[in-house]
């Protein structure tokens, strides 16, 4: 669900990337290290177990063989004892005893007693001898001859003495004494034991799929090997040298190219050695399995870690990114959108602080605006207050002039108007007055000016009755009229006319001041409200009026001009329609 966002926000040095990468790397490193260690431990243990197992198997075979060989020895002794106990070797009692003995043991093939010259004295079972047996050349006969006291075990060989089957046997032989008709004689006693038991014992050894066991005698001849024929044919090779040196132990043999695990045990009574051969690569198939398992395990873990890391990092960095976005929008001037406060503690704190800071900034900004406004207002008030002395000075000058000329009536009219003019100007310090009062005020101004300018112009004031009681800012008409007189009419040759009309149009109070004076160019008109140069004092007045209106009523209200050269100018003042009452007046003051 988060993935699309994650994709978008993947920047190389972003917190998310850093967290993901470091998190992933760290986890993988740990997992790899742990799996590596476990893997080594496992394989080592598995290997050790496998080797131990092999050793135990060989040990067991060895044990069985020893037991078996001892059993054979015992039987040999029993046979020998029976012969010793008999006075006459050809007695039927002995024959019967031997037959019984032979029947008790399945693996006893035959018993034979031979003279040292190789002549048969006694045999059991009673079988026909073969021709061409060459028994004097056979190893059991020779070793009995050479070491008369020692019971010798032959290597497995073919029993070729009696007719019937050719059997693989191990021959036990020794020089013994027997009595023939009371006469003590020396003879060689041969007991042939079927080799099958030994063969089976060794054959059953399974050391992995390909492993096997073989037996060598104390001279290093191979007694038993599952692949003896291959060895004779040169297709197989056993490195017997080290085997011959060891009596007990295990080692890795590499003489055949492939490493083989060799375990040696000695069958004590006859000094045969059992050699177990196992293939380590086979023993440790677990290694391969483990290998595969670890591979997939790591793959899955890594995938999981990457996904998890991406998710976690996205989760962690999300509030930070949100904060960043908010800060960005603040940077672009939007101080009003509050910042989301959620996520980690640090981020929450940061957001809170930032919000607080924003709040402070907003407060300060408001404060500055207020201060600026107040400053402006006071400045305007100062300007406004400057108007009066100037006008008074001019008017008094005209009165002096009239007095010199002795125009009494005009002086009276002027002084009366002046007094009314100032009364309305003062108007108890109120800033907002009725339109009626404002019109009255401008009328007195016009009366004074008309006298001053010697009737150079006439004027007319028209007002809807309804509009009379509307509220208006004080002293907004006088500067405009003053402007009309000084700029529109004063330099005109004909008589001027100033018309003031007020009407309610919808929710607006529209007051028009028009003159038929010189008019002005568009450039001048455009300059009027900007008030680039203050040198022509009256321009300031018009601008002042406009600014005051806007300050009080907003940007939708104010002055507009229409003018045509030589035709005249019309100034339109637009104000909101507000009926006059005292409370409202108070608000206007604020």
């Amino acid at each position: 669900m988060k993935l699309p966002r994650i994709r978008v926000s993947f920047k190389l040095r972003s917190i998310q990337t850093i967290i993901t990468v470091s998190f992933t790397l760290m986890t993988i490193l740990v997992v790899v290290a742990v799996s590596f260690m476990l893997y080594n431990k496992f394989t080592k243990t598995a290997e050790e177990n496998a080797y131990l197992n092999i050793q135990q198997i060989i040990e067991q075979v060895n044990y069985h063989l020893e037991l078996y060989v001892k059993g054979m020895q015992d039987i040999y002794e029993v046979v020998e004892e029976q012969i010793n106990d008999t006075q006459d070797i050809s007695s039927p009692v002995l024959r019967e005893q031997l037959t019984t003995l032979l029947h008790t043991r399945e693996d006893l093939v035959s018993v034979g007693l031979f003279t040292p010259g190789g002549k048969l004295v006694l045999d059991n079972p009673d079988l026909e001898m073969r021709k061409n047996t060459m028994l004097e050349e056979q190893s059991w006969f020779e070793s009995a001859h050479d070491q008369p006291q020692k019971l010798s075990f032959s290597a497995p060989h073919i029993q070729n003495l009696y007719k019937g089957q050719y059997k693989w046997v191990v021959s036990l032989s020794r020089m013994i004494k027997y009595k023939d008709h009371g006469i003590s004689k020396e003879g060689i006693l041969l007991v042939d034991v079927n080799f099958r038991t030994i063969d089976e014992l060794s054959r059953k050894v399974s050391l992995g799929k390909r492993g096997y066991a073989y037996i060598i005698d104390d001279l290093g001849n191979i007694v038993y090997h599952p692949q003896q024929q291959l060895i004779y044919a040169g297709l197989k090779y056993e490195n017997l040298e080290p085997v011959f040196e060891y009596a007990f132990g295990s080692y890795i043999d590499k003489s055949t190219g492939e490493p083989r695990y060799i375990t040696i045990r000695t069958v004590e009574p006859i000094k045969w050695k059992i050699v177990g051969v196992a293939y380590p690569d086979e023993i440790v198939t677990t290694k391969k399995d483990l290998n595969q398992f670890v591979f997939w395990f790591l793959l899955v873990v890594c995938a999981a870690v990457v996904v998890l890391a991406m998710f976690v990092s996205a989760k962690i960095s999300q509030p930070l990114r949100r904060l960043e976005k908010s800060v960005q929008s603040v940077g672009q001037g939007d101080f009003n959108t509050p910042i989301h406060v959620s996520g980690a503690h640090e981020v929450v704190q940061l957001s809170k602080r930032f919000n607080f800071m924003l709040h402070r900034i907003r407060q300060l900004m408001d404060q500055i605006i207020h201060e600026q406004e107040a400053k402006r207002k006071s400045e305007l008030d100062v300007l406004q207050s400057q108007i009066n002395p100037h006008f008074l000075y001019n008017t008094l000058n005209s009165v002096i002039r009239l007095a010199e000329k002795g125009k009494k009536e005009e002086i009276v009219a002027t002084i009366t108007s002046l007094s009314k003019f100032f009364r309305i100007s003062l108007s108890k310090g109120k800033n907002i007055i009725t339109l009626e009062e404002e019109l009255e005020h401008v009328r007195h101004y016009l009366i004074i000016q008309k006298i001053r300018f010697k009737n150079k112009f006439s004027y007319a004031i028209e007002c809807e009755d309804l509009a009379l009681s509307c509220r208006t800012l004080k002293l907004i008409l006088q500067p405009i009229v003053e402007n009309a007189i000084y700029h529109g009419i004063e330099k005109m040759s004909d008589e001027g006319l100033i018309r003031i009309s007020a009407s309610i149009q919808g929710d607006r109070l529209v007051i028009k001041v028009s003159d038929n004076g010189l008019g002005m160019t568009r450039q001048v008109m455009d300059q009027l409200l900007i008030g680039g140069n203050r040198s022509s004092g009256s321009g300031v007045g018009v601008k002042n009026v406009n600014e005051r209106i806007r300050l009080y009523y907003g940007k939708n209200y104010g002055l507009s001009f229409e003018s045509e050269l030589e035709e005249g100018t019309t100034v339109t003042i637009t104000l909101p329609v507000e009926k006059y009452d005292d409370e409202q007046q108070e608000r206007g003051m604020a």
């Binding site: 994709r7 993947f10 920047k11 190389l12 990337t17 990468v21 992933t24 790397l25 993988i28 490193l29 790899v32 799996s35 590596f36 893997y39 080594n40 394989t43 073969r130 021709k131 061409n132 047996t133 060459m134 050349e137 056979q138 290597a155 060989h157 073919i158 070729n160 007719k163 089957q165 050719y166 693989w168 099958r196 063969d199 799929k209 390909r210 001849n221 599952p226 692949q227 003896q228 024929q229 291959l230 004779y232 044919a233 297709l235 492939e258 490493p259 380590p280 690569d281 290694k287 290998n291 670890v294 591979f295 790591l298 890594c302 990457v306």
Partner: protein, 327 residues
């Protein structure tokens, strides 16, 4: 950006993995041992007799060693060629991974051998060959040489002026033909030696006996007989003993069934040419594995033949060859 990252991660991962593997020390794979067991069918001439049992033993040893599922098949009789063809067909149908064939008939088994090759089943020829160019390799005795060995010994026994008989087994079997050819070629060097009779006993002991009796009846002056396989050897030698010619008619046989060994010790048989059936079985399977693994093999593997007589029969290395453990 993501891709480079992914690549970088993969590289790291692979690096870590290599280190891991390297430190574990994977054993070099042994090319000869099959990772997964494969099915190899061994089809021989006959389902009894020591010779074939020993072949089977050798094959089983190799099968165990190389991880092969071995199926051993054979007709009841060596002369039942149709059955052998059917057995090969069956192996093709069962989609064996390789077939080891000991063809009872050089020509008649050729077609089915080609068919096996068509289905991409490698055929290894063992003991006796088959007339197919699709044979991957041959494992067996050099039968021509074996025939010559037999002739050499027989003529030494009978002398350069003698009349001799041949007891062959199946006409058309490649090894039978080759042995006979080897024998005849050697005999041809001695103008005084005459081969008076060549018989085919179809690898049947009773027929061999009958043919021997007939041979002796027709040619009482025969001083030597060669019997060219196991069954022929038993039949011939026993019949000669029974007829009372034992020792007078020199006999050279092939292979080493217990009966023949007995007769060898008795002096009825003077020598026997033995092959190495164990090795035949073993090597055939080994080569089958190599072929399946795409390793090049020799065109022929000569598992040596040996002449056994009373003097050397008890030598330890010969004992193993002459008297296998047959259960």
């Amino acid at each position: 950006m993501r891709r480079t990252r992914a690549v970088r991660m993969r590289v790291y991962f692979m690096l870590a993995w290599t280190v891991l593997l390297a430190s574990c020390g994977g054993a070099a794979p042994n090319l000869h041992v099959l990772e997964k067991p494969k099915n190899v069918d061994m089809i021989v001439k006959m389902n009894h007799g020591d010779f074939w049992k020993t072949v089977k033993m050798g094959a089983e040893v190799a099968a165990k060693e190389y991880n092969v599922n071995l199926t051993f098949k054979a007709p009841q009789n060596e002369s039942d060629i149709d059955e052998q063809i059917r057995l090969v067909d069956e192996s093709i149908k069962n989609n064996a991974d390789a077939i080891i064939l000991s063809a009872s008939d050089y020509m008649r088994l050729a077609q089915v051998t080609d068919r096996a090759a068509y289905y991409k089943i490698p055929v290894i020829s063992m003991d006796s060959e088959v007339a197919s160019a699709r044979i991957t390799t041959f494992v067996g005795t050099n039968n021509y040489e074996a025939g010559q060995k037999a002739a050499e010994r027989l003529i030494k026994l009978t002398g350069p002026e003698s009349r001799i008989g041949v007891m062959n087994f199946v006409r058309g079997a490649k090894n039978a033909d080759e042995r006979e050819e080897g024998f005849m070629d050697y005999v041809a060097r001695f103008p005084g030696v005459e081969v008076v009779d060549i018989e085919y006993c179809e690898s049947d002991e009773q027929i061999a006996r009958q043919l021997t009796r007939k041979m002796m009846k027709e040619h009482p002056d025969i001083s030597g007989i060669v019997a060219l396989n196991e069954v022929a050897s038993i039949g011939t030698a026993e019949e000669i003993q029974e007829l009372g010619y034992g020792g007078k008619v020199k006999i050279i046989t092939f292979d080493s069934p217990a009966k023949v060994m007995e007769l060898l010790q008795e002096g009825i048989v003077q020598g026997t040419v033995i092959q190495n059936p164990f090795n035949n079985g073993y090597l055939a399977v080994q080569y089958a594995v190599q072929v399946m693994e795409g390793i090049e093999v020799k065109e022929r593997e000569d598992t040596k033949s040996r002449l056994i007589d009373l003097d050397n029969m008890l030598r330890p290395d010969n004992q193993k060859l002459l008297f296998p453990f047959v259960k």
